[in-house]
Amino acid sequence: MARVYCYMLTLVFIQSVSVLSIMAQTKDCSYTLSGQITDEHDQSPLEYSSIYIKELERGVTADERGNYMLSNLCAGTYSVLIRHVGCKPKEEFITIKKNTVKEFSLEHHPTELNEVIVEGELEEADVSLTTSELSEIQLDQSRGKTLGESLKSLSGVNSLQSGPTISKPVINGLHSNRILIMNNGIRQEGQQWGQEHAPEIDPFSATGFKVIKGAATVRYGADAIGGIVLVEPPSLLSNREFKGSISMIGQSNNRQGVVSAMMEKGYDNGIGWRVQGSAKKGGDAKASNYNLSNTGVQEINFSGAFGLTKEHYGFEGYLSHFDSDIAILRSAHIGNLTDLTNAINSDVPLYVEDFTYTIDNPRQEVRHDLMKLNGFLKLADLGTVRLQYGFQSNHRNEYDRRRGANFNRPSISLDIFTHTLDLVFEQHALGKLKGEFGASSIYQRNKNNTGTNANFLIPDYKNYGLGAFAIEKYVQQKWELEAGIRYDFRQLNPFVFDSSNKLLSPKYTFNNVTASVGGDFSLNEKLTLKANIASAWRPPQVSELFSNGLHHGAAAIEQGLLYPGGFLSENLLDADIQSEQAIKAIATMEYKSNNLLVEGSIYHNTINNYIYLRPDGIRLSIRGAFPVFQYMRTNARFVGMDAVVKYKLSNQWSYNAKVSLLRAKDVSADDVLINIPANSFENGITYQMINIPDVNKVYFTLDVLTVMHQGRAPQAFLDFENSEPPSSIYDFKTAPDGYTLLNFHSGVEFDKLKLGFSVENLLNISYRDYMNRFRYFTDDIGINYSLRLFYNF
């Protein structure tokens, strides 16, 4: 089956490549579109405004007199989007039969906030889904941080941390395999199941970071129960241009330095390429009073893209390499329950050493390679066909503190290879109906490597998937309705060994239909409402089925669904393993006026067969006592609200606020769930200096972030020596107190140079965050000064 599937995939791939290559030889198009972009009121030129042809996905920036030129256009009708900072974007249709000169004018709103407009450019593909995107300023401020950390500035998005260097994005309370990360259009496939396994993505490879908060499974496939993170590199240049950038970021807390560089070039014939790379080195982070010993990080990443964009066809090849070495807090490596009790009862972590850049055990080595090839072809009367192939190879080694020669052997060494093939057909509008149809497939192979001299934490497996979807949109001037449906087939084929080392190879098959319906209504120019309800599903992860061993971060034995009581049940090998099923409804209201932006959304997510870890007594062994946690199923409910407010007080002063509220519940047990983000509020005030010659922007922001105590956390229980552990869910320590942090950000922008300076945790307070798994052992990080430099050429 694997072989046949694999060859089929190869054939389809080679076929499509041939089609694209043949297309690449057809005639060139040489028309130009040029002209000036001006202010509608006084006809003054709008400098550095941008013009973008939607069908071709390419555009240019006008010069300082508002003049623009797009070359190599084919005859045809295009929809053109014109934008300028502080103006309302405008879309116009234009027909090109010869070299065309065309003037565009925009309505200027001098009082409107820049960021309002940036946030207004929502993902058009799913109009009814709530999407938030990092603004340019948020993006600049997040540079040098991990992907998980970067996204925290969006409301409703948190991160699940394992110390300062490992963070995973959490959308509306869900993370890991319950959200999907689309890296450059390819679903990120690594070892996401681990709470201490961060996404293997270099944030410098992208300029667009979006979070879709609805269950957009219909388009993207399984797992997207909580939402989707879109990591999007900019489009390749497709006309004569050469650009580049250099970024340098230094931060004081862990004495970290990051450099990144990018170069890209476009040619008149539509060819473009880009190369990009980044390197990071950081040492031990510091809480307000002590070092977090062994929390250094080292990363080297690079990527390259090459493509051809023509009016009716185009293709792109993309390669990226991610390589990171991460030290894990020494004090979080725990031998048994006695050690855990000692570590938790100690106010200060048990290992506090002098600062070092050295990465010692416990540590992780992670490499991730992505290769992608995609192309599109426009069929005159029908629509556009897009084909995309992705190959990912993920290598992960985890080192513990072992005896003797095994110290330098990984305890976990896994390789996972993933092939994905996606085909999408975007149908031309038929009257008021617009549609998209697609099919996707995935083949995955996970392998344990030899030489660990340790038990396998998860088994080898193969994973096959096929899916098909259709989305139709009915478009009216003031409102749009969309509905979609998808069918997915998945087969998981793990290779497990029973107690006598006999190989068992069960096959678990999942068939799922998901659907989505939603709408987008513009009540007037200022007020828009959106609503979407969608079903989503997720197959159980191999770790949830087959885990059977010690988790060093918590001194806990974790047992999968198929290891009740610690023994592999042979009956269960043929068991009907059900997938997680969710229905997420989300509604958003957006109000935008000249000086006020209010965006609020409420959501309700019901998850049946929600898989989670439940305490199951303790076990005695030669290594001492260990609490046992068993994977179980329940029904869960997540209800919450996210809101953003931006108010422009004057030309210089603006205020912004963010709120994230969430209530999660184990409905079956009428109990709380573990690791659910606490409610949080953020208030900020920004002062912007205006009319400074030669300076585009100068700003200073002071943010106050308040994270509440998570009152709905499991009870604390640790006194195993004197009492029986409770049968309902418990945690080893009570949720930490709420906290308030003061953060300062500032920046100055010239034409080619941007500088930024920030101070996070300005008052250097000591605090612990409930979503940091190392809160048992240590405070979170203290004051951090960072300096950022971006140079564009």
Binding site: F13, F306, L308, R401, N448, F495, L620, I622, R623, A625
Partner: protein
């Protein structure tokens, strides 16, 4: 344009194709290895200056990795007697049985044994009789002294990477030892002291 097309067709695309094909191999999964560092057994040998040698045993078939229940064999000691106590660590899941004792001795600087005697038992850990390279105790060889007839339990603890220079640690006090536990014989071993 043509050169580019050629380059793409002849180099770039076949390269990608190869990657796909090269991963089509259906190689067999490897058998899980036996865990090398496993300790299944602690033998505690009590040797009096004269009289019967008593061997107590703590045996955990899967060395703490699985659900097997440990089997603990206690014993009885004679009152008011000094015993030389040696520890032997084994991995009996291997065939032939692997002796871990030597490994611990070699890495003596990274290991130390501690002994917890229940309050009801009149048994005292009198001294460590071995030293690592830094002249700190390891605890594979010890002297224990019994008092009056009584009964209770003994717990043997092995710490990996303890801080031997911390207060009291080299005298056998575990309080400030830190490190990670490699062995903690739970349930503790039953001992009876008879006249």
């Amino acid at each position: 344009m043509n050169i580019l097309n050629k380059a793409l067709k002849n180099i770039f695309f076949p390269f990608f194709g190869l990657i796909i094909l090269s991963n089509c191999g259906d190689d067999d999964p490897i058998t899980p290895p036996n865990e090398e560092e496993l300790i299944t057994t602690v033998n505690i040998v009590f040797t009096p200056t004269s009289g019967t040698v008593v061997t107590m045993k703590y045996y955990d078939e899967d060395g703490g990795n699985g659900a097997a229940t440990p089997v603990v064999t206690g014993g009885s000691l004679v009152s008011n007697t000094a015993y030389t106590v040696t520890l032997e660590l084994l991995n009996e899941s291997e065939n032939p049985t692997e002796d871990i004792t030597e490994e611990i001795e070699e890495e003596g600087e990274d290991h130390q044994f501690f002994f917890e005697v229940s309050s009801s038992l009149n048994l005292t850990h009198t001294s460590y009789n071995d030293q690592d390279g830094n002249e700190n105790p390891i605890g594979l060889k010890n002297t224990f002294t019994t008092g009056a007839a009584s009964s209770g339990t003994l717990k043997v603890i092995l710490r990996h990477e303890p801080d031997k220079s911390a207060a009291g640690v080299s005298d056998g006090d575990i309080t400030n030892a830190a490190g990670e536990t490699d062995i903690e014989t739970l349930p503790a071993i039953d001992i009876t002291i008879i006249d």
